[in-house]
């Protein structure tokens, strides 16, 4: 597969997706370059989460093309496991494995999926937990940690697979306001390290601060996009304006 940095790492073209008779995506296109941070915002039910779940094949699409590093995701022959080694994901509900400790959650996939050496994987996992500020929680079970801590473990777990791009699906939506910041700070550090990030978020201030590009979705379409400055100060589309006036 020939793909190089000058082409988009993730390229979505004219994607259509419906659940039964409900059309969720009606022709969505967007490009993400390596190292970019993309925020997708918009009202509930506008297809944001569905869109990013299509990128790692958790949802399939009816029509259109999704290229990840040049590889077509909308292809029945696709090796989903290979795709998912490159695309990490963090969920709104953390989805840590409750029967495993924080450290095991982080090191299990590299050992079982990537077949890394156990000691090396453990060392890497310890480093990752330190990176997200949880070096003292190695042996804690998810049930013993706060939401913000669990979400940081989930980020470390995703990083342990050494992905090229990480999808964040409303990762702070289930957190209380005080812990939102610790998670956002973790993501911000990742972005500064050059990780390609695609975020679905309701945190406008955060989107404005870290995003290279913002997409606004409504009714299954991208109605407006641009860099944060242009987007927040000079929105053209009436729906975007209305949305922004309600939240800012």
């Amino acid at each position: 597969m020939s793909w190089n940095d000058s082409e988009p790492m993730v390229s979505i073209k004219d994607v259509y997706k419906s659940f039964g008779t409900l059309e969720v995506l009606k022709g969505v296109s967007l490009d993400v370059m390596k190292g970019e941070v993309i925020c997708i915002i918009g009202p509930s039910g506008s297809g944001k989460s569905t869109l990013i779940r299509c990128i790692n094949g958790l949802n399939d699409v009816q029509a259109g093309s999704i290229l990840v590093e040049g590889q077509e995701v909308n292809d029945p022959e696709l090796d989903k496991l290979e795709l998912r080694k490159k695309v990490g994901m963090v969920f709104q509900q953390y989805n840590l494995f409750p029967h495993k400790t924080a450290l095991e959650n982080v090191m299990m996939a590299p050992i079982r999926v990537l077949k890394h050496d156990k000691e090396i994987a453990k060392k890497a996992a310890v480093d990752l937990l330190r990176k997200v500020g949880l070096e003292d929680k190695e042996n804690a079970y998810p049930g013993e940690m706060s939401g913000g801590q669990q979400q940081r473990v989930a980020i470390a777990r995703s990083l342990a697979m050494n992905p090229d791009v990480i999808l964040f699906d409303e990762v702070t939506a289930a957190l209380d306001p005080e812990t939102v910041n610790e998670v956002l700070l973790t993501i911000k550090r990742l972005a500064e390290d050059g990780m390609t990030c695609i975020l679905v978020t309701h945190e406008m201030g955060f989107a404005r601060e870290v995003a290279d590009h913002i997409y606004f979705t409504d009714g299954g379409l991208i109605v407006e996009h641009g860099n944060p400055k242009k987007f927040f100060e000079n929105a053209k589309d009436p729906r975007t304006k209305e949305f922004l006036s309600q939240i800012l």
């Binding site: 496991l81 998912r84 080694k85 494995f97 409750p98 999926v113 049930g143 777990r157 995703s158 697979m161």
Partner: protein
Amino acid sequence: MPDWVKATIGLALPVMANVSEIIRGAVLSLPSGQWEAAESLAYSRRQTLWLIILPQCLKRMLPPWMNLYAILTMATVLASIVGVSEVMTLTGEALAAEGGRPDLLAPFYAFVLLIFFVYCYPIAQLTMRLERKFSVIN
């Protein structure tokens, strides 16, 4: 076919159906997020099932499993239908051998009760211990 094989097959069939329903129910009762998280970490379906889903199900399956086992223990009495000499038949025969004295009825069946109790009680204890052990985890 020996009688005990008939009895085993006869008792095993409904138990198999029940156990598979218990497993299915436990698997379905886990939040779908567990599957999605495992999938997005590139676990294969088999790995997801064995490393992530089933270990969590074990705790949920234990109480209904043990219930079923206790019910099965009681149901062994049915084996007499195919000619296996199980405990109730033997008790009946022993009573008859004593001339069917009504005053022996209560002590004989109390003894059967005791046998069942001695068999089932440790299982109940073990179940409770296992449940306590698993409940530490979440």
